[in-house]
């Protein structure tokens, strides 16, 4: 994946979310990771932001779009066949989700994802 057209192909159904901050997140991760991984990281961020984790619950349609962001990120990572990335990203979501319910505090999601990416470069 190198160009905008390929990114668009992975954004099917998520185009509005790109404008809502996913694009900015992608711009943050892209210098640090391959395009698929950067896009997956941006999707995880966008998904949890849509779902307002730990805050007031969003309306159902935003929850479902958030689920789709997480699921597509997971599929992108699966296709990289990089187990460390898959485990690292999933662990980051686990930590942030647990913290949102009053579990152990977690660092910011972006720090966790960036650390995972840095660990496998």
């Amino acid at each position: 994946m190198s160009g905008r057209a390929e990114i668009d192909a992975h954004l099917r159904g998520l185009e509005p979310v790109w404008e809502e901050g996913m694009g900015d997140a992608y711009a943050f991760y892209r210098p640090r990771a391959a395009p698929e991984v950067a896009l997956a990281a941006a999707m995880v961020e966008a998904g949890l932001r849509l779902q307002r984790l730990g805050g007031e619950a969003p309306d159902p349609s935003r929850l479902l779009i958030g689920d789709l962001c997480l699921a597509r990120a997971s599929r992108l990572l699966a296709e990289t066949r990089d187990q460390r990335l898959q485990v690292g990203f999933a662990s980051a979501v686990e930590r942030v989700a647990a913290a949102a319910t009053g579990g152990p505090p977690a660092p910011p999601l972006r720090d966790l994802l960036a650390a995972t990416i840095a660990g496998v470069r």
Partner: protein, 486 residues
């Protein structure tokens, strides 16, 4: 009040540590014990009890320790059958086993709080076979506050003495499914045990409320087929698939504003929407991680694609509520994503994990797809059954795409009125009228027949050569999917 039970334990080896933790937890749930004590007692002189860690290498150490304490070949006087009085035929030579039981517990008491055994993170409860293989029994008594809802098989007695006579009456799934089901339950309990309480407790309530476990059982059975059969890895996959499914249910229940699931309040209804969202996310991520840690990229990809299909279908499902009741093609598309995708993926991933041939993997995937569609059709029928654990007419109220409604809307006599009712506001009176019309239209029979036909086709797939090892239990599982409404 005291509830008395007997656990039946068939053992398979001379020395064996049988982890009975999940079975004890099942008994607590079945009795509805909220807070109190569980007393257990071995009914044999060569079967002990222990509380320790279920770690395979440690269990080997413990067995070796018993062997050192009371070696098998030692000339025990108990084994001198010539000198012993009243020795019957078939008397075992087992002095070592009796001596070993001295260091184990003949009985113990465990605490129960909020419906759960109070155990440390690494503690499991074992029945320790010292002279197997045999059929063993452990007596149980539960006492305390029975404020919980009994989940099954109420067995209240005031005197436990007579209870031993009625043992092993549990209905089981097909004979080939018993071990798989036990492994899945054990794995689910193990996976949940290590999670932070705020997410663990809501998910435990959902998991322990029941569920048919069809998806994990499909994965377990499919994993029998390849060159790398590993029941523990298969159980990890199966448990993760069930948690993934449950995570989607937690979010669905918020989206559908459902108040109950499996006869209990939904996570959103009990804990609030914000917690439900976080719990769903946590277990989605955990399941993905556990599957990734299996180290099989094909399995990871199979499950990831299925989860994406589920999410897309769920979005479609909500969007299509404006076009209620929809048509057959739309229904099939949504059902394939919402339900059948994970059924098919469970079959495919189980077989991939075991390294099965691609032809068999494809067969099983097709079987799972058909079973998943049939399963959802039967689920639609349960909306008209009081046995479902969900409020009747929920699909109508939620304007969910549902095959009985689609067929009823096509009926020459009743279809017009059905469409008219569905187009307007749905108060309880109109919901009941829709239900009556669906029944009068024969739509339920039609859907039931279609589900049976799909199962029949699915069973035909199982005739494929190479599926001998799983044909019978998969067929049992498929039939049980449509038996739910009989």
């Amino acid at each position: 009040m005291i509830v008395a039970r007997r656990l039946q334990l068939p053992t398979s080896r001379p020395t064996e540590f049988v982890d009975i933790t999940s079975r004890l937890q099942d008994e607590i749930a079945a009795a509805g014990l909220r807070n109190g004590r569980l007393h257990l007692q071995s009914l044999h002189t060569t079967l002990g009890l222990a509380v320790n860690e279920n770690e395979p290498l440690l269990l080997e150490d413990l067995a070796a320790t018993l062997e050192r304490l009371a070696p098998t070949g030692f000339p025990y006087r108990h084994d001198d059958l010539v000198r012993r009085p009243s020795v019957g035929p078939g008397e075992p030579v087992n002095g070592h086993a009796h001596c070993r039981q001295l260091v184990l517990l003949p009985a113990c008491t465990l605490l129960v709080e909020e419906g759960h055994l109070v155990l440390g993170r690494w503690q499991s409860v074992f029945a320790v076979e010292l002279d197997g293989p045999r059929q063993r029994q452990v007596a149980l008594q539960l006492d305390g506050d029975f404020g919980g809802r009994r989940t099954a098989r109420p067995r209240v007695v005031l005197s436990s003495a007579v209870e031993g006579a009625r043992q092993a009456a549990e209905p089981e799934a097909g004979p080939g499914l018993h071990q798989e089901r036990r492994l899945v339950e054990l794995e689910l309990a193990r996976q949940l045990l290590v999670d932070p309480e705020p997410v663990q407790l809501p998910m435990r309530r959902l998991v322990e409320a029941g569920g048919k476990r069809v998806r994990p059982l499909l994965a377990m059975l499919s994993s029998r087929l390849g060159r790398r059969v590993d029941p523990l890895q298969a159980a990890a996959l199966a448990g993760a698939i069930e948690l993934l499914h449950d995570a989607t249910l937690v979010h669905d229940d918020y989206v559908d504003e459902a108040s109950t699931r499996r006869g209990r309040p939904t996570v959103a209804a009990r804990e609030g929407a914000s917690t439900a969202i976080a719990v769903g996310d946590y277990y989605f991520a955990k399941a993905v991680r556990v599957i990734a840690q299996l180290g099989n990229p094909d399995v990871t990809t199979t499950i990831a694609r299925a989860v994406e299909a589920i999410c897309l279908a769920q979005i479609d499902d909500v969007r299509l509520r404006g076009a209620f009741p929809g048509d057959y093609e739309t229904y099939l598309k949504v059902v394939r994503g919402k339900t059948a995708a994970l059924f098919a993926a469970a079959c495919r991933a189980g077989a991939q994990l075991a390294g099965a041939d691609e032809a068999l993997v494809a067969c099983l995937e097709r079987f799972g797809d058909l079973l998943g569609i049939a399963f959802q059709m039967v689920d639609d029928l349960l909306d008209y059954s009081e046995r479902s654990g969900k409020p009747l007419g929920q699909d109508i109220r939620q304007r969910t795409v549902s095959l009985p409604l689609i067929y009823a809307a096509e009926h020459p006599d009743h279809g017009g009125r059905v469409r008219e009712l569905l187009a307007g506001p749905l108060d309880e009176e109109r919901v009941r009228e829709v239900q009556r019309l669906v029944i009068a239209s024969g739509a339920l029979d039609r859907v039931g027949e279609e589900a049976r036909s799909l199962i029949s086709t699915a069973l035909g797939i199982l005739e494929e050569r190479g599926l001998d090892r799983v044909r019978s239990p998969l067929a049992d599982l498929a039939r049980s999917a449509i038996d739910r409404v009989r």
